[in-house]
Amino acid sequence: MSQSRRFEVRAARDINKDTFIQTWPEAGLVMLGAPADPHPSLRIENGEIVEMDGKPRDQFDMIETFIARHSIALDVAEEATAIDSIHLARMLVDIHVPRADVIRLMNGLTAAKLVEVVSHLNVVEMMMALQKMRVRRTPANQAHVTNRKDSPALLAADAAEAAFRGFAEIETTVGVARYAPWNALAVLVGSQTGRSGVLTQCAVEEAMSLRLAMKGLTTYAETLSVYGTDAAFIDGDDTPWSKGFLASAYASRGVKIRFTSGTGSEALMAHANGNSMLYLEALCLLITKGAGSQGVQNGSISCIALPESLPGGVVGVAAENLLAAMLDLEVATGNDAMASHSDIRKSAKLMLQFLPGSDFIFSGYSSIPKQDNMFGGGNLDADDLDDYLVLQRDMRVDGGLRPVREEETLQVRRRAAEALAVVFEAFGFPAITRAEIDQAVTGYASPDMPDRDMAADLAAAERFLAGPETVLTAVRALAKNGFPDIARSIFEIERQRVIGDYLQPAAIFTADFDVLSGVTDANDYRGPGTGYRLEGRRWQEICDIPQAYDPRLPQGPASGTTLELQECGEAQVGSGQEVVIAVGPAFGTRLQQTVNDLPLAAVLGQLLAGIADEGVLARLVKVYRTSDLGQISFEGSRLSGSGIAIGIQSKGTTVIHRRGLLPLNNLELFSQASQLSLEHYRRIGRNAAGYALGRPVEPLLVSVDNMARLKYIVKTTILHRHETECVEAARPPAVLRINPGNRV
């Protein structure tokens, strides 16, 4: 229990729900530099590696044997190993060294040397290096689309929306394993409804995953996990050779694959062998490279909270992403699993991949509400999409997404659900009902979806998997039943399998099925003015968030009475105990509401009523020559018989002024118009009348809001700009009369 209230409040903050530990190198709970980590070394004899990272060949374990035989480019290994790590590290950020030159050398490095190289970089240098070293020039993003009920209509609608929002890949999985073929089908149909060419996968057990691909239901797979120690690998029931074979098997069916690895998995399995997380990850990446996988998803993935508990954990995760890129591997850079309770910490971590850009910034952005994320992830989810879109616009960064409008989004969701209903009918599956479609369009998450007969559904899904029907049946049904565009997209996805260009590193499709990959869209970053630049139509698209409005548009009356004022000649200096209300040049003409939406008619009515409460006469004057509040009130007090004037700008900022005071001095100033209510204006009227009568007056205190400036500065600026546009420098002040019938 804290004695201090402040410590107590901090202790309850989200950040303190996260777990933090000191390092424990023997258990692998350290990012970098565990005592057991080897020092770099490499000896080659007769074209074979005979010593690697301090270990002679006859002591190599399974992983080391694999790496020595497959992963390291022997023709450059000696040259690269001889270069000082610090020099290699500098090449990573040196814009004068082309990416290809760096890649050539990195191909010859051992795991220990790779880790030594990245350990020389600070976090900003790592981001610079990732920007330069990632495979594809154009950054992209991947979505997770799943739901707790395995509702097919909702999967289709969500996949459609994810594709429509710009995700280049969509990954789904299952709650119940036997739903796999259905979920893959729903996400395929949905994705091609939202945007042609989006790649899809269904993460399930390997044999099932391969069968789905063979039926034409998925286009890629990334469930090929690798580990950095023999024991962890074997616990995962695989070896580098079994995973490597699987990689070839997928490619033989025209399916793109990427491996999965990530810091912390070995420690979690208690098989870290006293090595640091980053060293073990370097081994994983060399296995990935050696097996010929075009890429990897890493960045700790589901173990992310482990590195985040350690010193240097977040930068270490950025380092593992960079290691993948250094090895010329496509990298989907994590950010999928829950990394923190703290929104501040989550956002900060995201920046390390978001700012430099990566092949896939997320290896699964939860485009559905996290309660429906069956990967157990959702570090950012559907609720955070607007935040993400604003971040893109703030930083002028292409995070792979685009702003969308609600109406068009709902249309896309409906079409996807309806298209899937047609496909279900063609396959003879239990029907997708109208009620399901409606809920899939507008509902929040799977609890909103009507329940289906699970037993009947699973039986149908199993028959489908075992039977002869393929995705081509779906294509025909869609073409025949009013969805020819979706049919064409799915057909084209299948045709691309035959061409195989999308098997090349970091490949995605555009909506026209052009392949963007390390071959067709190679990263050519060479410093400012090169590489991917967010410009032109794409930048305009990112700028155009629906919340942004045109500040040039007139600020129309939203509610309340429009003030109608009549001019009755030039204002003269008055006499007697009057109070002049001096208004700005746009008051009641171009502008009709204050910054916090009070109708100017009502504001004026309250000022007049307040003055009348004290039995004092009021005169209304419009000042044209200035929009400045000090000058408006100065002019008013000059004209006022009592010398007392209320100056008010159209945005509602108000001052009580007395003749003889300097323009910037005053009796009472109400500078935060957003804090003023109609009651306040009435009391301002009374106080002004009190000054005119020469009575002692208690100044009106208005509360201060720390957020007022944040909330109102834009509107204040716009309103003041409109008022200033109405300034006529040579026009004398005019007396105003409220039109008869304009009740204020």
Partner: protein, 131 residues
């Protein structure tokens, strides 16, 4: 990239003849939409030119697997998992790949696994010793 070469599906259908209209008229099955051995060999060449030796090797192994039936593929994968196979079982699989499917690179892959598994004790219990 694909314009300057003639691509056919595994069943020999030129990629230009794979049309939605034909599919809608009832033609075709998934084998017509399967990648051909030559196409993967071509992709291997593209990868090699780009300096991606291992990716190229993977595509070459994939090319060899095009004509290997799904069930045999799944069986080989399973056999390569730890403690699933004896040394001679892996050797027989390698021979089958070589002789029946002309998959020499894949055969070499399986033989290498057999050798390493024997040395690292990853073979099916009962046969610990290597060749």
């Amino acid at each position: 990239m694909s314009a300057d070469r003639r691509i056919t599906s595994k069943t020999g259908v030129p990629v230009e003849d794979l049309t939605l209209e034909r599919v809608n008229s009832g033609w075709g099955d998934m084998t017509d939409f399967s990648i051909a051995r030559e196409t993967l060999v071509h992709q291997a060449g593209v990868a090699a030119v780009g300096g991606r030796r291992q990716v190229a090797e993977n595509f070459r192994r994939a090319a060899e697997l095009v004509n290997v039936p799904d069930d045999i593929i799944l069986r080989i994968y399973d056999a390569l998992r730890p403690f699933r196979s004896t040394h001679s079982q892996l050797t027989i699989l390698a021979a089958q790949l070589k002789l029946q499917f002309h998959a020499t690179e894949c055969a070499r892959w399986v033989e290498e696994a057999a050798e390493v598994y024997a040395r690292r004790g990853l073979l099916k219990t009962g046969e610990g010793a290597g060749p």
